[in-house]
């Protein structure tokens, strides 16, 4: 490798370490890394802004942007609070039933929305319900964070790693529905069982408290019915357009942006409000990451790594799949899974090509997606949703410690990843 290639590796690892240790803001780390890559000519504006393989993936950026606007409007309508309180009443205050319903709502919602938004919406209402029932809130919050990570794996838009994988691998929304969603449903069934073993057995039921739950009025949560129906209609349209990609030929990014546009044009939501819902730092973080990874592509580092990976695993698709699953889960438990997947995607692309590039070889993409999405559950810092839940718990004076989360997280990750291995094996490799 050239000197420039080695320097670019050093810059990349330095930025990665800063992102992982949170010594400085992750946006500063990603943009700083990208800036140095451009300054030392490891990459250039042409590649950074216009290259499909070595530049900013605008499909990812605009898909996130559009979904942020849609979700931002939807979350103001109170629909999630409505659902959660409705669930608490349906559970008649029985603690484990309540946990199952909340976990299923969280998983379902995070398949359509991003995980962080989902837990931000479900956590406050969980506090209210648990306070009423005099139940410890920590088990519920931990279970919800994990459910959002598992549920998010089901669809293309559920978890940012999936968005990156879809764009790099040219996989459609339906590909995710066909290859990821069935297993995610299975994993959720197992997860509910784990919740019983980890938490459910220790809950006690208090009929007097349970009666108080019935006094909550979920209909009051809906502030603006008209806006609720409008935004649900837009969300349904967007999902339909994702699914109808083979007929309509709109890329997911185009669908999301059009959906956001319709929402602003057809409802009382103003442009200013829509723009305020966008998490610009996240989008800039993605852009910085793509430029950094692009520099590694330009300097040939990714090419060499891919070649080494292809040589090391030559012809052994089974072993590669399992190795990738395990390594992805392990690494995503420690570092943010977004930069991990951004870096691994060009390497996995080469591996898929080397294994024939057909549907069987695509098992590597599913292995990467499952590993990265499920690995996030392992530790309190493994996924953004976990970090957010710990933050909310601390602010509500019921702090959850790193190890309190991690001891359950490790169990759930080991069980779910272990179940994914035979799924991938039986479905793609037999």
């Amino acid at each position: 490798m050239s000197v420039l290639a080695w320097v670019s590796v050093a810059v990349f690892l330095g930025a990665y370490a800063l992102i992982a240790t949170e010594k400085i803001h992750r946006v500063a780390a990603a943009l700083g890394g990208a800036g140095i890559m451009l300054a030392i000519h490891a990459t250039d504006a042409e590649a950074a802004f216009f290259s499909e393989h070595a530049g900013i993936d605008w499909n990812v950026v605009f898909l996130l942007l559009g979904m942020m606007v849609i979700v931002g409007v939807l979350k103001e309508t109170g629909v999630f609070e409505y659902l959660a309180i409705w669930a608490a009443k349906k559970a008649r205050g029985r603690p484990f039933r309540l946990m199952v319903l909340l976990v299923l709502i969280t998983a379902g919602a995070s398949a359509l929305l991003d995980n962080v938004t989902t837990v931000l919406l479900i956590a406050p209402v969980t506090f209210l319900v648990c306070e009423r029932l005099a139940l410890p809130v920590a088990p519920f919050l931990i279970a919800e964070a994990m459910a959002s990570n598992i549920g998010g794996a089901a669809t293309l838009v559920g978890d940012p790693p999936n968005i990156i994988i879809a764009s790099r691998a040219n996989l459609s929304f339906n590909d995710f529905l066909v290859h990821m969603a069935p297993m995610v449903i299975g994993l959720m069934v197992v997860f509910v069982g784990l919740c019983w073993l980890m938490f459910g057995r220790s809950f006690s039921y208090d009929p007097e408290r349970a009666a108080q739950i019935m006094a909550l009025d979920e209909r009051e949560a809906i502030a603006d019915r008209r806006l609720l129906w409008q935004s649900l209609a837009v969300l349904a349209l967007v999902m339909a357009a994702f699914v109808l990609h083979p007929v309509l030929h709109y890329e997911p990014s185009v669908v999301a942006i059009l959906g956001a546009g319709i929402l602003v044009a057809a409802t009382k939501v103003t442009t200013e409000q829509a723009i305020a819902e966008v998490e610009w730092p996240t989008l800039v973080f993605f852009a910085g990451l793509f430029v950094m990874v692009g520099a590694l592509v330009e300097t040939g580092v990714i090419g060499q790594l891919s070649q080494a990976a292809v040589d090391a695993t030559a012809g052994q698709l089974e072993l590669t799949t399992m190795g990738l699953l395990g390594a992805s889960a392990g690494l995503s438990a420690i570092v943010d899974n977004i930069p991990y997947v951004a870096t691994m995607s060009p390497i996995v692309e080469q591996l898929v090509q080397a294994n024939g590039g057909n549907e069987t070889a695509q098992v590597l993409w599913w292995s990467l997606a499952f590993g990265a999405d499920l690995g996030g559950n392992a530790t309190a810092v493994g996924a953004a949703a976990n970090v957010v839940v710990l933050g909310i718990a601390a602010r509500n004076r019921t702090p959850i410690s790193f190890w309190q989360f991690t001891k359950y997280g490790l169990i759930v990750t080991v069980v779910t990843v272990t179940l994914v291995a035979p799924y991938l094996w039986l479905r793609y490799l037999m």
Binding site: E81, P124, F127, L128, D217, E220, A221, I222, A223, N396
Partner: protein
């Protein structure tokens, strides 16, 4: 006219006072806000009445306004009871207060300085410090009365 000409005595609360007592003080004496002092009497936080209230409102209702709406009247009426002996220290938000500018002035501050400080910090009272010690406060009402009279 300077801050020292507008000074008034002002009740303070300590970090270990119950929040419920702080709320009672505010209501009974018709105060615009409260000053929280540490054990040697220097002000730690200057809380407008609405922020004293924020100490008592469950965090989940502040995070999510929809949740305040779903609570039934009987429970809503009793939201202060849920405080059950919590102290000011337990209810003060953990960190951000140090980052924010405190509405604190010295005795030489002019009326315009005080008014600008109140407007900037959204605080209806300014603590006046003399050599680090609390000398008294200037309230919004006192300030406006004197400014209008002038």
């Amino acid at each position: 006219m300077r801050a020292r000409d507008l000074l008034a005595d002002f009740p303070v609360v300590g970090l270990d006072s119950p929040v419920i007592d702080a709320a009672r003080l505010l209501a009974e004496q018709d105060l615009p806000g409260l000053i929280v002092v540490d054990h040697d009497g220097s002000p730690l936080a200057i809380l407008p009445g609405t922020e004293v209230l924020a100490l008592a409102v469950p965090a989940y209702c502040q995070d999510d306004p929809a949740l305040a709406r779903v609570v039934d009247e009987a429970h809503a009426d009793g939201f202060l009871r849920a405080l059950s002996g919590r102290t000011v220290r337990e209810c003060l938000p953990p960190r951000p207060r140090e980052l924010r500018e405190l509405p604190v002035a010295d005795p030489d501050a002019t009326v315009l300085e005080l008014a600008a400080l109140m407007a900037r910090t959204h605080s209806p009272l300014v603590a006046v410090l003399e050599q680090g010690r609390l000398a008294g406060v200037v309230t919004l009402q006192a300030l406006l009365e004197r400014a209008l009279a002038g």
